[in-house]
Subunit: 236 residues, 2 copies
DNA sequence: CGGTACGTTGAGTCATATCAACCATAGTGG
DNA sequence: CCACTATGGTTGATATGACTCAACGTACCG
């Protein structure tokens, strides 16, 4: 690991690179942030926070990927969303002043900054543009949640799996060989779609037979995006 | 209908009575609101706004009940939430500056105030407490949406129906004979739970056989709340 | 009195969950 | 270095919850 990979990122530079919401802060606010934040590193599998816990701050992702999930019946996970560089997590609990309604676990080794609640609250009070941007973010996520509710309630597992694959493509992109740039276990895929692991496996291999995808362990290669779109019924 | 039922409500009084978020506004802001708002009345079945449309303002409910829903495959509704006195709807689209992601339709005749977008945005800019309260609201709704996603993905229709009944009890209450204070068609119930109308009918009559509820057309009498809680698995 | 919307019930079907067995891989410790 | 174990992936057989389709009942309304 190179030296610069270990150095603590500066928020202004980081905000600029990742396009995080912090770009709406003033010079002074950024300085305060740089001073108050705490830099942390986590490895795959580590937990950032647990559902039900009181949270004293929120996290801004500098690198890596985190899954945000709820634990349902029999401990089965429901993945709510992923966080990647530039995203913030746990801000919901901080702002609504409720206990965490989700847990967060590392999917890909990551480097994050932990920022105390009071800082976020003070920015909301002092910087109305920033407050507005946060509102936009929360409202946008709310819209996405509503769509997801409708999908889970109305679409088949097959349709949802196709849709999730496309969503992952949109969020994490493909490399030059069309491999999906995020690697998930079958169980994790099932926990997004809201189905059993075995169902995901069976449907994926159907997609493979239909030349829609190619499978190399956890690496998924997208061969026919249009085909997946058709299956997923994205346009109602 | 009595005279006072037709008169336009004053926001300060209304905010106080319904506990709406407007109680966080200053005297001047309330006055502006009173001046700019537009009072409207709607009857059961009328549409306030449609999914996909650009919205020029949001609504504050003074009386009545409204369902907020998305239209999915084959035009099937998915009810996202209900709005009752004191609630605001369409604020999501206004704040995120996106087209409406839901439609709103009247369940019980209602009286609402329509408030232009700019007013809301200006309050967010000028009144940081109000902005913070809005953030709390949005974040709270986000938490509820996350729970709902997990429920739909993991619970059976039977569990969800019991849960929804309890949720309606919590939101709309029971009268002195334990009748649920909101009246929905079987289809509407199905569109909350995310199932087929026939399934709701069958399960409701099972609940009836099990002496959990009593059915008189659309009036549902709750006989055994504990029993419903047990079925719904509310505590994971 | 016919029409329309809603409610109910039965029968048949199918998608998906569940259960069980098995394989592959990698990490661990003696 | 090899058995041991844990984790994840795959496949098959079976069970069943829930949907669909269809018929019919009910109630209100102009």
């Amino acid at each position: 690991m190179k030296q610069q990979d270990i150095s603590i990122p500066f928020c202004d530079k980081c905000a600029f690179e990742t396009g995080s919401l912090f770009k709406y802060l003033t010079r002074e606010e950024i300085d305060l942030l740089n001073f108050e934040k705490e830099f942390r590193q986590y490895k795959r599998g580590e937990i950032l926070y647990n559902e039900g816990s009181r949270i004293s701050g929120f996290y801004c992702i500098h690198s890596g990927i985190i899954k945000v999930f709820k634990t349902g019946l029999d401990g089965k996970e429901q993945i709510i969303r992923f966080a990647k560089p530039g995203d913030i997590i746990a801000y919901r609990s901080v702002l609504s002043n409720e206990v965490a309604c989700t847990s967060a676990k590392v999917i890909e080794d990551c480097r994050v900054c932990f920022i105390p609640s009071e800082i976020l609250i003070s920015f909301v009070k002092s910087n109305s543009s920033y407050a507005h941007e946060l509102l936009k973010l929360a409202c946008h996520e709310l819209g996405e949640a509503n769509s997801f509710i409708t999908d889970i309630a109305q679409k088949t597992v097959r349709e949802r799996l196709a849709e999730i694959l496309l969503l992952l493509v949109a969020d994490f992109g493909l490399d030059d060989q069309n491999y999906l740039q995020i690697s998930l276990t079958r169980e994790e895929l099932a926990n997004i779609v809201g189905t059993a692991t075995e169902s995901v496996i069976r449907l994926l291999s159907e997609f493979k037979s239909d030349k829609l995808v190619e499978l190399n362990g956890r690496k998924i290669r997208i061969l026919n995006k249009k085909g997946l779109e058709k299956i997923s019924n994205v346009f109602n």
